[in-house]
Amino acid sequence: MRSAKNITLSVVLFCASVVGWEAVVRGFQIPPFILPPPSQVALALWRGFSSGLYLEHLSHTLLETMLGFIVGSALGLVLGTAVALSRPVEFFLYPYIVMFQSLPKVALAPLIVVWFGLGLTSKVINAALIAFFPLLVNTMVGLRSADEERVSLMRSLAASERQIFWMLRLPNALPFVMAGLDVAMIFALIGAIVAEFVGAQKGLGMLIQSMNFNMDVSGQFSILLILSVVGLLLNRGVMIIRKRVLFWDPSEKERIDQERVSA
């Protein structure tokens, strides 16, 4: 697909749709608080960045997202390992984890803001809560999916359970863990933004909220644009790490190709 011709075509299509959008808004005289023309969105973007406003809020949201991602993934990894390795832990803990997961965690955001305040903490916790589950499930499945024959081989070498874990189960789980991180990254961003909607002093989510009150629709569009670019970059970041860690996984290349199709 990546021929020079197709790339040119995709650039042309992009420009055409932007120009078409602008023409429709002007031609039908649609008020800017319903649908702003791209020129105004670009202007809002430029103003926001040149005044330093966007960068300040963007960096705050990024910090929340990254902290939430790290805390949530670490928690998911540890708990997933515990559930996978210990039958009692699975029996007593897993039902609650599943119950908790079926709860739409977005609905928890108001409570978390009440409990942990308008600052950074509530956003990190909310992001971590949402990011945690994909890691938990993937770690669990990954650790349990070690091929029976490989386990037999390790046992035939008189390996201890600990050795089987470190030399076989853990590396074997890595493709699953990396897939979990992929999802968790985007989930953390969602968690941070939602918590900002509920109540915050800083961040892009809070900015969208206040712009909404001021009918600044072009401003909102400009932030949506930033968020989608941020999401894309975070996702690519995880993918680069995944490719490095899983250089040995033959399904890796295939999976990346598939993602490109589904993205």
Partner: protein
């Protein structure tokens, strides 16, 4: 009396099922001498893999005893090397790291075994491939890595469970020659499971013939063919006599036709 490399006395294995139990092995007895190459041949389901798992210490028998060099087998031991039907390599390890897996597991010290790992890789013709990863190798090459891995900690004996069953016929013949060469050079006791009668006759000093339900040894056949055997030996009349004899046992017992 000299202690046998492997000694199996009225060994039984009963698998519990809904309607009672299935005898995978019923009172099997045999012995292997030090340095001997013994093949077990039989149709699938005759319990030969169960037998190997018991010898490898991966499975406990329900009756009888098996001992290795005079000591009873009570779990996995470090003085055997096992080769499975699939190469069972770890994809995140290089060829060399895969070969050194037993050394890592048993904490023998990589430095001391690096030299012999390279020698063994040269022996199986994989000298230049030590830094490659398993997916870069063909099926035959992967199985040679598995054999190298089974030999690295210098085990007293080698247990092989249909190691060439997944390979194509040409590669398989080639691997048979390789295995004979390795065995003649290293003089290990080999316990080799296969469902190919010609493979068993070609490789072994002795062939144990097994039939299923219940798993039993119906013949213990000494193969008197000179070594090293070339592939041409397969067209000799002696070779034909041995294979015909074994095939006849299956037909009488209904093993292959069942």
């Amino acid at each position: 009396m000299v202690t046998e490399a492997i000694s199996v006395r009225s060994l039984s294995k009963l698998y519990a099922t809904r309607d009672g139990g299935v005898a995978a092995l019923e009172r099997i007895s045999f012995g292997l001498d030090e340095g001997e190459f013994v093949a077990v041949v039989g149709p699938s389901g005759c319990g030969k893999s169960t037998l190997l798992k018991i010898l490898a210490g991966l499975l406990a028998p329900t009756g009888g005893s098996a001992s290795l060099r005079g000591t009873p087998i009570a779990g996995p031991r470090r003085d055997i090397g096992v080769v499975f039907q699939a190469p069972v390599l770890f994809p995140w390890r290089t060829v060399l790291d895969n070969v050194l897996l037993p050394v890592d597991v048993q904490g023998l010290g990589r430095d001391r075994y690096l030299g012999s790992a390279m020698d063994l890789l040269a022996l199986v013709g994989l000298r230049e491939f030590e830094r490659r990863y398993p997916w870069e190798l063909s099926g035959g090459m992967q199985q040679r890595v598995a054999i190298t891995r089974a030999l690295i900690h210098d085990p007293a004996m080698l247990l092989m469970d249909e190691p060439f069953g997944a390979l194509d016929a040409m590669t398989r013949e080639h691997m048979n020659l390789e295995l004979q060469r390795i065995w003649m050079e290293r003089k290990k006791t080999v316990f080799f499971i296969t469902h190919s009668i010609p493979e068993a006759v070609f490789l072994a000093d002795r062939v144990l013939v097994m039939t299923p339900r219940p798993g039993r040894i119906v013949d213990d056949l000494r193969i008197e063919l000179p070594r090293p055997r070339s592939l041409d030996v397969m067209t000799s009349s002696d070779f034909g006599r041995y294979t015909r004899h074994i095939r006849g046992l299956f037909n009488v017992k209904g093993g292959l036709d069942a």
